[in-house]
Symmetry: C2
Subunit: 379 residues, 2 copies
């Protein structure tokens, strides 16, 4: 048999769920993980423990892999180029991935291809950030380090010149963005393969709490059909222009004046696509694997009128397994996805999916289960 | 966290798919496998290589497991009792499992509880088999070794006294059964937990080719509602009377005169339940895990009007991956499940699932994909 070896860098939950999705395909999955306790390392068959920042480690890992893909976007761009020079297919490749690694490069490229962004520019220091605020009509503004941020880290909501000091302490270039007046956040998830086939999932609504994704509703309720189509087309165009291979999440603001603006890009399976595991004909993870192997992509359409995903965040209760009894007995249709991670307050340790014909009921079921597992509610 | 450790004995595809189903539950899965190349051993995180027939190996494996369950029914009954005596929960337990291990014990128990079987008795030798044939109206009859058979192995279709010699060569007790006039084979799959909760999947039609399961249609087409209910109730009753924990498959004959008779019992996830992976709200594998952990069971109802499973058997083509291009491009809704097994003629190396609103179309899609992967058809 000539089933290929997919090497995945990073042992987080995205790798865990990618491995899960790869099992039915009969492919061989090889993981590069920081520790044997990492989420994916607990459940994968072939695990190499090592530091993805070390080129020799990456090279040794890549040997015998037919393709390399990623759980996160933190592998240095120059290492990815070195792997490519070694003849290893890297998907997404460094020329695409840099746009998800560096928010400055991302904004410049989006401007170049005419994709709508919040007003923005790189700012040199606090005084320059204040000047930018003046240019966009005053504070508040958003400051972001161009590299290294995720889940609200590396992002500052800046109301005063005083607030505009911390972002410069790390010595990393800082991107300033206007504070957009938005009614909600959306995400357009697509998957693209090397030969150019692409599929678009329905656009979803993503609700954040404290900068962390909390709830995703698929499809986004009451979304104007034309605006939804625009969002899908935008994501497909970004993927094509940037040469993305695999899953691309385009996080969007739906503005009060009815436009969509690109907030962030992620070139890997994404939290806003976790609903697809139970709610779509083909999950984002299965399609990501198919894309990086240049296999024909699976049908991205939903299987139910509504699917809701709620993240399970760590709370005060360390023992989430205890909550299974209540949650499973209350809702035999509930889908629990836990990541094998130790509970720490605010940490994403799992998610739940529900689907059904009635949005309110579907939402309530997911909300209840996530809150119960976290320990926020007790019945 | 107190997530439990589920130990599974046997590294075949049932263990592989059980591991896959266990990942979202965040449980720890530990495998006892004959070799590192076994289907499940390729993809599981914690694998112990050893011989399940050796009690010391089993005992060492069971240490640290919260429960032991099985990929197959071949672990000696006395070893299971020893594990139980050590205080390890064994699910299903030896008192239940013996009915799936020994067809003689199974038939005696079914008689005792009034479950309908083909006419049968243990026969001592060829002459006794001929006598049995006379008792049931003449040849053909079926002879089965009471232990060790599966997928048509250990089963003889006996047309003459001459045919009735081989079954006795192994020196194992032989069960004789009448050849039932049946219109088709059905399977009633249920899952039962230690505290007595049980769920019943819709009764399916199972089509065999050369004694090996080939196609499963869920639900069984044109099945009389009352007969379907009888089959589900029968399976639930057998599970209760035999003390089964986990998945129980009751293979049935639907006779020409409109009765159902028990053909075989399997106390583990079963080929006739593979359709549930894509066709039911909760798969047989997920429910088996929930049952052995005494968690509330998941909803067994179908997600689509029709789901069809076709086994992919090994053919002349060793490279099944090549067929993915055609199959995935032709049918973006196709669900492929490959087991990582080397292709040998007639060996079950995977299965495909399709679902849809129209039975003929759903059947054709699954049939085409299975035949194409096997290499029976080329387009």
């Amino acid at each position: 048999m000539t089933f290929p070896v997919v090497g995945m860098v990073g042992g987080g939950q995205l790798a865990r769920m990618t491995h899960e999705a790869g099992i039915p395909l009969g492919i061989k999955f090889k993981l590069l993980s920081d520790t044997p306790q990492d989420s994916a390392a607990q459940v994968a068959g072939e695990v190499v423990i090592g530091d993805y920042r070390d080129l020799d480690t990456l090279r040794a890992f890549a040997r015998g892999c037919d393709v390399i893909t990623f759980d996160h976007e933190h592998v240095p761009t120059e290492h990815l180029r070195a792997l490519e020079a070694d003849g290893i297919p890297v998907r997404p490749g460094p020329d695409a991935l840099v746009h998800a690694q560096d928010k400055g490069v991302m904004r410049a490229k989006l401007d170049e291809i005419g994709a709508p962004s919040p007003r923005h520019r790189i700012v040199a220091d606090t005084a320059d950030a204040v000047a930018f605020a003046d240019e966009v009509g005053g504070f508040p503004i958003i400051l972001k380090t161009v590299r290294g941020g995720y889940d609200g880290k590396g992002v500052w909501f800046v109301r005063t010149a005083e607030d505009a000091r911390d972002p410069f302490l790390a010595g990393v270039p800082v991107l300033a963005e206007e504070k957009v007046d938005f009614v909600r956040e959306l995400a357009a998830n697509i998957v693209r393969s090397p030969h150019g086939q692409a599929v678009a999932y329905p656009v979803v609504e993503s609700r954040q709490v404290d900068g962390v994704c909390d709830t995703v509703i698929a499809p986004a309720p009451d979304l104007d059909e034309e605006l939804g189509g625009q969002a899908q087309e935008l994501a497909l165009r970004i993927a094509k222009e940037l040469g993305v291979v695999g899953h691309l999440a385009v996080e969007l603001f739906q503005t009060t004046d009815g436009r969509i603006l690109v907030n962030e890009l992620a070139m890997r399976p994404h939290n806003s696509g976790h609903w697809t595991m139970d709610g779509a004909i083909t999950s984002q993870f299965a399609n990501h694997v198919r894309a990086v192997l240049d296999l024909p992509l699976g049908d991205p359409r939903p299987r139910a009128p509504w699917t809701v995903m709620c993240n399970v965040l760590g709370g005060d209760y360390p023992d989430m397994y205890q909550g299974y009894l209540h949650c499973m007995a209350r809702d035999p249709q509930l889908k629990i996805h836990m990541y094998g991670k130790d509970v720490k307050p605010g940490r994403k340790v799992g998610h739940v999916n529900t689907y059904g014909d009635d949005l309110d009921e579907t939402l309530e079921r997911a909300r209840h289960a996530a809150d119960y597992l976290r320990g926020t509610i007790v019945e």
